[in-house]
């Protein structure tokens, strides 16, 4: 008995030491208590066969594993890494999303969120979560929807209609170039699309965080996709929460397609538009006016 007491006594310092060494960092763990405001969120993803519904509880478990570090336990974009991240993580409590198929100001569809989770966001810390299963990503959409009361009171907007793409030819590219000048896209995106226009350094998002315009010369993908269809949708829905507005009321569909075709020439990709522009520029070098403040608002060729 004496030996037992002696052994316990000898272990006491170890116990005390371990108590403090293991106790103090406990706060800095991922065992966060998530605080969803919507306890019955679900997600219906078109195109998922057999398991079309995203389930909130499963989604919150995944959220805790994959997302909480940036987006935070309350989904408000204040995770432990938010301080170091630029651009800042999305604040799900506001339910304001850049990538939507729905008109500006409306909630995105579940499919929009699902595509964002799957695709990630180029040139940000948000990776593509394609390695997760379809069901897991659907569950994550339900988890994202659980952080804002907007989902309790509002329905998602109706997706915009995207008309058939107009033919890709040099005339369309040139019309798009003129629109780029006329609509003053260059003021943010820069004359060459490098994201270095005169207004670029002054831009902030809806939470007053500095934000940079898209640089067409480095990114091979857009924030919300990579196809002409995706780019058209960005014009017409805008990127809510950013200075990029919706042009649904100011651009006709055929104009929007022209702009799409021109913007493709700014990317470091071997697209049909880029080939057409390269050939035209080589043959008409002296006729091409520069884009920018000196070109006037009447467009440039």
């Amino acid at each position: 008995m004496r030996k037992l007491a002696s052994a316990i006594a000898s272990m006491l310092p170890v116990v005390v030491l371990l108590f403090f060494t293991t106790a103090s960092p406990c706060y800095a763990q991922i065992d966060h208590h998530l605080t969803p405001v919507n306890t019955s969120a679900e997600a219906k993803i078109d195109g998922l066969t057999g398991h079309a519904s995203g389930e909130q509880q499963g989604g919150l478990m995944l959220y805790r594993r994959f997302c909480v570090g940036c987006h935070g336990p309350a989904g408000d974009g204040t995770g432990e890494n938010a301080l170091w991240i630029d651009p800042k993580p999305r604040d799900f409590t506001l339910a304001v999303f850049k990538c939507r198929s729905t008109p500006t100001g409306t909630l995105p569809t579940d499919d929009d969120l699902y595509k964002s989770v799957t695709r990630g966001f180029d040139t940000t810390n948000m990776p593509a979560w394609r390695p997760l299963t379809d069901q897991q990503r659907a569950n994550l959409v339900a988890a994202v929807k659980s952080f804002s009361p907007r989902w309790l009171n509002e329905k998602a907007g109706t997706p915009i209609t995207i008309p058939a793409e107009t033919p890709i030819n040099i005339e369309s590219v040139l019309r798009g170039r003129a629109l780029f000048q006329k609509m003053e896209c260059w003021k943010c995106h820069g004359p060459a699309g490098h994201g270095d226009g005169p207004s670029a350094s002054t831009l902030t998002d809806s939470k007053d965080n500095p934000i940079r315009p898209y640089n067409f010369s480095t990114g091979t993908r857009f924030k919300c996709g990579e196809t002409n269809h995706d780019l058209y949708q960005i014009f017409m829905t805008g990127l809510d929460g950013t200075p990029m507005p919706s042009f649904a009321d100011s651009l006709k569909p055929e104009d929007a397609w022209d702009l799409v075709h021109f913007l493709r020439t700014l990317q470091p990709l071997n697209t049909q538009e880029a080939s057409l522009w390269k050939a035209y520029a080589a043959a008409h070098k002296s006729e091409i006016k520069p884009i920018g403040p000196d070109a006037g608002s009447g467009g440039s060729k």
Binding site: A7, M11, L17, L18, P25, Q29, R65, F66, N125, P131
Partner: protein
Amino acid sequence: MATQSPKSLNVRRWSLLNSVLMFACLTVAIILGDTPAAYTLPIHKVTAIPAFARKYGLPCSACHTAWPKLNNFGMTFRDNGYQLMNDRDSPIYQNPSYFPITMRITPNWHLEHNTNQPVDATPGNPATTGSSGVTTHGFDLSGIDLWTAGTLYNNISFSLLPSSDENASFHFENAFVRFDNLKGSSWFNFKFGKFELNNLISEKRFLFLSANGGSYQSYHFVPPGDTNDFGMGDNQIGVELMGHSKNDYTRYSVSVLSPNDGNVDFLSAFGTPSGRTYDTYLTFDQAFEVGSLGIQRIGAYAYIGERPTYYQTSGGTDLYGIGNKPFYRVGFTGDLYFGKLNIMPFYMHGHDNVFLGNGVASNLPSALPSGAQSPTWNAGFVEFGYYQTPQLVIIGRYEAIRMQQQANPANPSNYGNIDAYAVGFRWYPIMFSRAGLALHTEYAITKNIGIAPLSGTGGPPASGSFTDAVWSSSFMVGFDFDF
């Protein structure tokens, strides 16, 4: 056989009681340390940042089911050349103070016990050799890994891992450069240097650490008396062409490797000159989704190689290996998920040439024992991990090796057979994007017939009998941290 006095038995009982008390105290301390009261204590956030977590701001659990084991997202990240493919992978986007290095070590307390060991009945007098179990225990350190890896530029990645044993004797566990996404395709990635084989079940990333549980017997087994130094769990030197689908569901690799088990200076694992041949390793695995159960992955592999059986000499000094004879390892493997339960089955069929199996130079066939034949065996294991939360995992494994054909038919049929069991749990009080700490507790026991256990903590049976088994067990509790 040495007899034991009641006093020595009392000492042993007391030693066992002391060990149990030690474990109990450690466990109580950990439990106490997690009480709500602990949250009121001063908070000292760890300021160090593990390399990739710091770069990308993702928690450990994003890439690891429980570190260091990778989940499918982590596998994709690794197979992309440590890139998220978000146009921010090149180091030119990083703060210049960023340095991609991490270190890992495990201070621990462990107990090792081996049965049927030769022991001097009178300490210091080797003439009184008897047989007994041998138990040792105490506080100890693991070796340390100092791992740096990342990208040199977009689609050019690297890894360098100086690793030491517990006495700080260093070697290069891996060192390679990798050219990723050649021709813009994830199907073509080229690696050059020393690297882990593209094993679906990685021995470098599994959750077992003890002397007996900390390695797969199947990955390192060669039959008794065999002169082949190959171990599938050992990193190898050579080149690898590897490819994968965008979501990593489909993966393949083709490797061409030096025949020296990853050692340098053209030396084998035994320190003898290596041959001048090349080995080939082929792998393929495919993942598929099964509803809410998760991602299931199955794969197959084949390693084909040669090893020398004697040497070209100069003045009697060995220059390089010749008389090369073939061997192969083939099998299949899986990584299956049933919700929180992960099950990993593994099967291998091994075959060594008759000269390798009998340790005989191929230019001296007459030295082969009568009826000599190529040794063959079947090996496999089933490992499970139950992930209660991302911070608590319960682990276990059963492994078996069965000789199918002895190199020397005079040997008993079970000569070399192994059974191994391991159970444990890992609890991660810290698992976030700056550092990781795990309380690791594990018990592992291995039954070896006729040979020394892989743990290296016990020898062949004291009786010298082919058929006597040595039971070698380990109990370990320690803090595994990654910084």
